[in-house]
Amino acid sequence: MFSLFPLTDRIVEIRNLSLNLNDWIRLRLHLESTLLFEEVLNTEDSVVIIYEYGKVSNQSQLLRLISKFEYNGLEKIIKPRKVRVKVKYSEKDTDLSVLSDLLGLSISNIIELHMSGTYQLVMYGFVPGFAYLKGVIESLRIPRKSTPSYLIKSGAVAIAENYTGIYPLDFQGGWYVLGYTDFRFLGDNPLLPGDIVEFLPI
């Protein structure tokens, strides 16, 4: 069952407990292709519609568009791009030794588990160009730090819960840092939700 939750007059959030991330990405693409909206975004468990200024959300139109999509059976296929991001894993300026204690794994084990994962871009958020990459293996999952670090350096490759990500700028943050990379998501033709990221140690 889809439910529509208006956040403002021109922003509507769509929820449905039985959809997974790929469904949400497909629904976003479907709604984007109508060119009816200023922007359509997905998170892990929702799609958000932003109408242009001056327009007011139209719930019955939205429901019609969504139901048409259901009828098509979530068929739209995404062809994900894949990038391999080079990472310098090291104990210098990272949380690897802390993590080793917290997780009960050796440092080389942690690196091995992180670099052998395949991660899917869920969405951007938090700060510009910060991509939430989903798919951290169960044994590496750890809650965010209870007190965020005052400064995480630009390029830090970090993990928290089911996510890994790359800090695009110096910023405070609660994730655990494993290494550093020169890769940044924002540039020409940035990766989008659904695309795949893997990490390559250097």
Partner: protein, 285 residues
Amino acid sequence: MLEVLSLRGYATIQDQGRFGTKRYGIPMGGFMDIESAHHANQMIGNQPVLALIELFSGGMEFQCLKDHLIAIAGAKAKIKVANTTYTSPCSFNVNEGELVSIGQCVSGQIIYIALKGGIFTDLDYGSASTYLPTTLGGNRGKTIGVGDSFKTNESKKEDVIVDFPLKEIRYTKALTLRFKRGPEFDLITDQSKKSFQTESFLLKSTNRVGYRVSGPSIKATTNNLSSRFVTRGTVQLPPDGNPIILLSDSPTTGGYPRVAQVYEPDINMFCQMRVSSRIRFKEII
């Protein structure tokens, strides 16, 4: 062209913000008090959304290196131009070489300084709005400092002051914010739901990302969720129980419960509230 000679407040270039960039996590940005910013532009016949200077708390002096038509709106402050003193909102012509001096805000806290033609400056993703964390927009993405200078988009002298009504806004030290329930409103405990709507909150800090208030600690059954969409006006509830009202430089996603969404027409006035003002929340359907 004008050059900043002294500055006490926090100033950036702003316009209507960025569109279509939330997909990359890039905030919309743009004017805080949209109504006052539009007012400043309209007083001198500009398009309402042209880039202008947004100044927190007042205290700025600049010299005009050309003749300019200038309008100042938003918070109330004394404005000295050559030998004449005005009170904002106001508009006036300045001759080449003359100084404009903006006093401290006496009511409200954000002043908008518009130049005829709009300020000509750097654009990123189609907007001159300065966003500091990733240095986007006007003035190379930096706050305005002493020695910075700005050009306008029009070079010819315009001495016609448009007969646009002067909207004198009264800023108060207490404000009731009307809100609609946010998607996670029901995560608030019953006791806290009552406190949220019946007690008053103290405004603790104000910046372009959001304003923090404190009062009765508002408890939620959980404070950590998967990150969801947030925007200007979203009220987030972190674990310490002190709500944060997100504003123009709001991130695009957040992981705290979105307990409320402030009714849009109330946000402009809220932006003008100073630290230690009193805020109340009132639900509307």
